[in-house]
């Protein structure tokens, strides 16, 4: 497998991403509105609860919304795959002098990397808001987010190639988004999920968004105690990454043959 060819595929996905200026600006506005509206207002509503767990809800939510943004931008690679199938770009990609595996792996890496680069400036703003107590912890957390972004990108590719209609994909992403975000600790601490319905807390315990957001909070020091062991969190994200990157690669590679995307 040629690294240079792999990089060319990654670079192409980066260039494609930059072309979505409209989408990138809008996502930025979405992030700001989440932080400045939902975060601030709900912070007022749940002050007592936040005091009970020892942090401000605003800080808690800002960290969570960063993970939601990373997740949603990494999922965007699936839309690219559908656009390419709709506009006949697939055929062009197959004529390129790169192997199927290089193409597929490159796309998975590109999808994760570009979302991480996009979230980078937002991450800096969030770190400015939250502060950093231990740079080493933060480094571990950022490395975990990197793995998380690749895993989400792989998951997006897996789902996109498993479906024939862009509409169905959009719907599935909506449903998945509704469940995966709400059944995680991105928006609320697990202790309240446990109080509300123990089953929610159990599901959240297996959710990669829970691992990513808890590790990020742990990395910044905003949440000194995290319900999961950081090592287990990193391990969970690694398993998620490996599972979906390789499943995505195999699915995508198979689908490329014989025009089954049409």
């Amino acid at each position: 497998m040629g690294l240079k060819k792999l990089w060319l595929v990654v670079e192409r996905d980066f260039r494609m991403f930059i072309q979505y200026k409209f989408m990138l600006v809008m996502r930025g506005i979405w992030f700001v509105s989440q932080v400045a509206l939902f975060g601030l207002v709900v912070n007022r509503m749940v002050q007592t609860a936040a005091a009970e767990v020892g942090i401000s809800y605003f800080q808690y939510y800002v960290a969570g919304v960063t993970i939601i943004t990373l997740y949603s931008t990494a999922m965007f690679i699936g839309y690219d795959i559908f656009e390419e199938a709709e506009h006949g770009v697939f055929e062009y990609l197959l004529t390129l002098p790169v192997s199927r595996r290089e193409l597929v792996l490159g796309r998975s890496i590109g999808g994760g990397l570009r979302s991480f680069v996009y979230v980078g400036p937002l991450l800096l703003i969030v770190l400015f808001i939250l502060g950093v107590s231990n740079p080493l912890y933060l480094l571990v957390a950022l490395a975990s987010l990197f793995i998380f972004a690749f895993g989400v990108s792989g998951m997006s590719i897996t789902l996109a190639v498993a479906m024939k209609s862009g509409d169905k994909y959009d719907i599935l992403i909506g449903v998945l988004d509704a469940l995966i975000v709400r059944l995680s600790t991105t928006m609320y601490p697990i202790v309240y999920m446990q109080k509300a319905m123990p089953a929610y807390a159990t599901v959240a315990g297996f959710n990669p968004l829970t691992y990513a957001s808890d590790l990020f909070r742990w990395g910044t020091g905003v949440e000194g105690y995290i319900p999961i062991n950081p090592v287990m969190g990193v391990l969970g994200l690694f398993m998620f990454f490996f599972a979906f990157t390789f499943v995505g690669v195999v699915f995508y590679e198979r689908r490329l043959e014989g025009g089954s995307w049409q």
């Binding site: 207002v41 609860a49 928006m187």
Partner: protein, 255 residues
């Protein structure tokens, strides 16, 4: 009138073709109510969040389902089906009015089970005149939302742009309204210099729609019905129904 009814019938048939989309919407709405709302109820003592949010969810569902018409129109433009629509033996205005109304009526159809669920989970039922006012305001709201959606759909040529614009409109209308949190709490933004957002939240038709339902289900002292709520929704509906009709019949010819 007959032509308009035909267009509405066409869009209703299409609505049922998108059963997966409806399933997706239902899943999202139920996740909001039975996951997020239940957890937030544990976190706040200011309001019983579950009771507070249930009427907001009705408006949320109405918004999302009435917005679906834009998705279809955008798809028609991308796949050039709009040429066929324009070739139908009816005036452009009839076609446009039919589509705006269809979007709104489909929203009402989707919203009805959510409204009934709200009555059941809250164990509160409005009187017949109150129910009539709720349905009237929601119908007006749905037509206005359908208008916003169609206006965006005919102004964006790619699906990606439509999805992004839809997201921005969704979040602007949702988060700057009393769907998720009481207006009294939104007013905290004034102290942070964000008074335009507070003003927007006050005039937001989603605020008025959800507070109108709350005024009949949860009642005073927090929620009191005012005819201005209905007027606000009617103005929103009138403006966007007009813009959408105009935009659909004019902009579509340029594609």
């Amino acid at each position: 009138m007959k032509a308009i009814l035909r267009v509405i019938e066409h869009d209703f048939r299409n609505f049922f073709r998108y059963r997966w989309f409806i399933v997706g919407l239902i899943a999202m709405n139920l996740a909001d109510l039975f996951i997020s709302a239940i957890v937030f109820t544990q976190m706040t003592s200011i309001v019983d969040y579950f009771q507070f949010f249930a009427p907001g969810l009705v408006v949320l569902g109405l918004f999302a389902s009435a917005f679906m018409i834009g998705r279809e129109i955008n798809m028609e433009i991308r796949r050039e089906i709009h040429h066929y629509m324009l070739s139908l033996p009816m005036t452009r205005t009839e076609l446009a009015v039919g589509r705006v109304l269809a979007g709104g009526l489909r929203g009402m159809l989707y919203m009805t089970p959510l409204l009934i669920t709200t009555f059941i989970v809250l164990h509160r039922f409005p009187t017949l005149p109150q129910l009539s006012l709720i349905l009237l305001s929601l119908l007006l709201l749905a037509i206005g939302i359908s208008g916003v959606s169609i206006s965006i759909a005919v102004s964006t040529t790619s699906f990606e742009k439509f999805v992004t614009a839809r997201g921005v409109v969704y979040y602007m209308f949702f988060f700057c309204s009393s769907v998720f949190y009481p207006l009294s709490i939104i007013k905290v933004l004034e102290t942070k210099g964000l008074w335009p957002l507070v003003t927007f939240a006050q005039i937001n038709p989603l605020t008025n729609g959800s507070d109108l339902i709350r005024s009949f289900l949860l009642g005073p002292p927090e929620y009191v019905f005012s005819p201005l709520m209905l007027l606000n929704v009617a103005i929103f509906s009138g403006i966007f129904a007009f813009i959408a009709t105009f935009a659909y019949s004019k902009i579509l010819l340029r594609h």
